[in-house]
Symmetry: C2
Subunit: 345 residues, 2 copies
Amino acid sequence: MNDKQKRATIVDVATRAGVSIGTVSRIVNTQAGPEATRRRVLDAIADLEYVPNHVARSLKRRSTEQIALVVPDIANPVYVAMAKTIQREAKERGFRLSLMSANDDPGGEEFALDSLEQMRVDGLIICSLKPTRKLVERLERVRGRVCVVGSVPEEARVDNVRVDSAGGAQGAVQHLLDGGRRRIGFINGTPGTVPAGTRSLGYRRALEENGLHVDEALIVNGEFSMAGGYRSVDRLLAGHDELDAIFCANDVIAFGAMRRLRELGIGVPSQVALVGMDDIDLGKISTPTLSTVSLLAEERGRLAAELLLERLLGGAAEEPRKVTVTPRLIVRESSTDYIRHEVPA
Amino acid sequence: MNDKQKRATIVDVATRAGVSIGTVSRIVNTQAGPEATRRRVLDAIADLEYVPNHVARSLKRRSTEQIALVVPDIANPVYVAMAKTIQREAKERGFRLSLMSANDDPGGEEFALDSLEQMRVDGLIICSLKPTRKLVERLERVRGRVCVVGSVPEEARVDNVRVDSAGGAQGAVQHLLDGGRRRIGFINGTPGTVPAGTRSLGYRRALEENGLHVDEALIVNGEFSMAGGYRSVDRLLAGHDELDAIFCANDVIAFGAMRRLRELGIGVPSQVALVGMDDIDLGKISTPTLSTVSLLAEERGRLAAELLLERLLGGAAEEPRKVTVTPRLIVRESSTDYIRHEVPA
DNA sequence: TTGTATGCGTTATCAT
DNA sequence: ATGATAACGCATACAA
């Protein structure tokens, strides 16, 4: 009944140990102090089960030693990989990471920014699919406490780690062309998002640079999910059974597509080659294994953590810093069968 | 250069609006107040871009309105599903959820409990694979602010939502037996964990209740991961090519196993039937689709959120509450081919 | 309705 | 080395 015992505060400890709160505080926060009093204080702390109130401490110190990572959808393993890296990186520097999923809700990012402004966290690493003008303005306002992973306008004054995903997409399609594929479909993610834009750009560039016509009928817009990939296959195939490859805007889409293709009895890669983007672990064990473009999620996570934490720790110049990584094509089974076509006149 | 402007506090707003901080506070926290002053205060807030400092507010209110969910490994989609449910549930009641992954590190749970004791969060929902005596003691000490999802000793005085996973496992194996399978292998997860124990129990019970001998050679212990499932297949098959089914301790293991079986040219389910546990989404689109036992992750998440939040909101009796859900067998392609054996003498 | 003043539990400054 | 005390920014009980 009476276990609603109040938690001990620093003054309880001080009283118990017969010293001042100043002394207790010093001993709690530094190793300093003469062995004699140290002993007494530590005993008192143990007896009373004293744990410093982090809220009060944060208020006084003006820092919570806590950061958050905001991802569009935690169901996508690529963000999980990124989160794990960042968590490790943060922990090493004495920060805690909490993970927030925007669940594809644009309000999710704003919600996280509220957290920052309310001082719930010291900093934010934010992956946004669709950085609206309004969002970017808010981000700039709190620059110095935030790092954006992904594309934000070039001139935005925020720390930013990006990847040349247009180049990555182009490389993927080029790889399909190199393999002899000529009718290459494209299943894109959620229209209006930055990643959808860059991938589309890469797809078109690859075709154009090879003197090929971009057939809009071979492009379908879906969403960044397995269901999206699954459904898009039917739309893509309607009247296009000459298709010999599909480039998917990310791996999750690719797995949805792969599933649907198999249901339809279409061989991958024998009939249709498949390439995704992100390089999630599943691609290494699926059947067939999935060719993809690594966007270096862990690497970007690590870089973002470094940028943010350096700034929080005070060791960063005023100017926003931008760093860009280069994607890497990873060829696996889903795209390896070579197909020889007639060389176009 | 001079954008390091200090954030406005409530007294700045009060000064600007020409009212007392009491008035400002009231207007910020309630809708009350006469239109006249309300207007002035709201304007001042807008002008100064005032956002209440949540740390100070928490200190005063003695509550952060923040909870956390601790999962063993965020790479397992079943926890993602649970997290999403809890996040929704929490938001509805004005709480924020932050997700922490213990990354299979037993220290991860302790770390989260530290957070609770430091008052970083008001409450904790914790999924532990291996609740040590020490951990349970800590959990009991902070009961009233914590809810455990998963098995903790029956007599532990903590809110607890559990699932009869032994029964679920037994049902899965019974299903394989009903399908005519007789040599059923078992790929278990990390030895020493509670889930590994209950699944093993269910597996054995099913065989025994059918008067079948439990062949220890058909049981391998791995870990709760795809890699674990993948590797275990070889160990299981060594000298046991008469195997006609495998029960996997969870879906992630099952997918690893499925991959390896296909590499070996072993048909699923034609030669070896496969059943997992958890019912992650991937099982609906894999080839073949995966038979599994739903452990009702979302449902358990919802219940846990309810138990915890009710307690935090003050509307809960003193006694710890235990709720148990019943798993549900979901038959899909990976176990459906019927095999007729000779009826044993 | 509005203003004042105290406390939430720390840390940090300044004497001692 | 140690002790007293003033913030940190907000909420609230109480007074006006």
